[in-house]
Symmetry: C2
Subunit: 150 residues, 2 copies
């Protein structure tokens, strides 16, 4: 399950992407984004800060200030977002590249049967999720139901 925070982050990015697609895009205030994303303003503030520190959005202060998208939607990967907001996406810490952590009780990673099977799952999962970007979310259309109720 992705966290509520991640949902807020994605909704915020969608709002910013929609704004960026307009003919004369403005910076959106946190308040405006919060309204569009149905997110608590003060919580969203932190999320947007993280997105800014990661170089995904940019912000300006003062009267006409607000947030806007820095990267193009096609350059914002979903897996990058997941890692940023929700932390490592590997099913086991010992399978994570960026947040690798050895299991305490593990004697030999190479022969660990749990690691082995989840490595296979994870590898395929990565192939899918690494290829998805915010741009893939922008094209609307009710594909969800086709997929889930074939």
């Amino acid at each position: 399950m992705i966290t509520q925070k991640m949902k807020y982050a994605l909704k915020a990015l969608l709002a910013l992407a929609d704004e960026a697609a307009r003919s004369t895009p403005d910076a959106l205030t946190i308040e405006a984004i919060a309204k569009r994303a149905d997110a608590p303003k003060r919580f969203l503030e932190h999320i947007l800060l993280e997105l800014r520190n990661a170089g995904i959005v940019t912000s300006t202060r003062g009267r006409t200030g607000g947030y806007s998208l820095l990267k193009r939607p096609s350059d914002i990967s979903i897996s990058e977002m997941l890692r940023l907001i929700d932390g490592p996406i590997a099913p086991l810490a010992c399978l994570s590249r960026r947040a690798y952590q050895r299991c305490e009780d593990c004697t030999d990673e190479a022969t660990c049967r749990i690691r082995k099977v989840f490595a296979e799952v994870f590898y395929t999962y990565l192939l899918i999720i690494d290829s998805l970007t915010l741009a893939d979310m922008l094209q609307s259309g009710a594909v969800a139901d086709q997929v889930m109720n074939p």
Copy 2:
């Protein structure tokens, strides 16, 4: 990330499967499983109880009592285990079949752009994980490193 509890559960099942594969299998006491799985005994107790209630293992009480595998390893699916121990595996509650929950603020699921993209991911993920069973974990061999460090 799978939980520690899930790791304990899988290790316990591996221990039981290994025992079942012997020429004269015995029931394993919680204590014995705890030792093999490096799990706190009193915690493992709860886990084993859940596995028993789910019909995956069976138990006998008294002097020669203990736990043993009820289903065959090839009939114990990893996704079933994940759902049992860690809860729903869908990335969004509104994508879960067994633990479906509508998102509060969602106006239309069919056009929700977040739901759409995660539905695609989830569908493919399900295909992989639904096909895996405990039997796939039993065959050891260092495949993990080949997969992760090609």
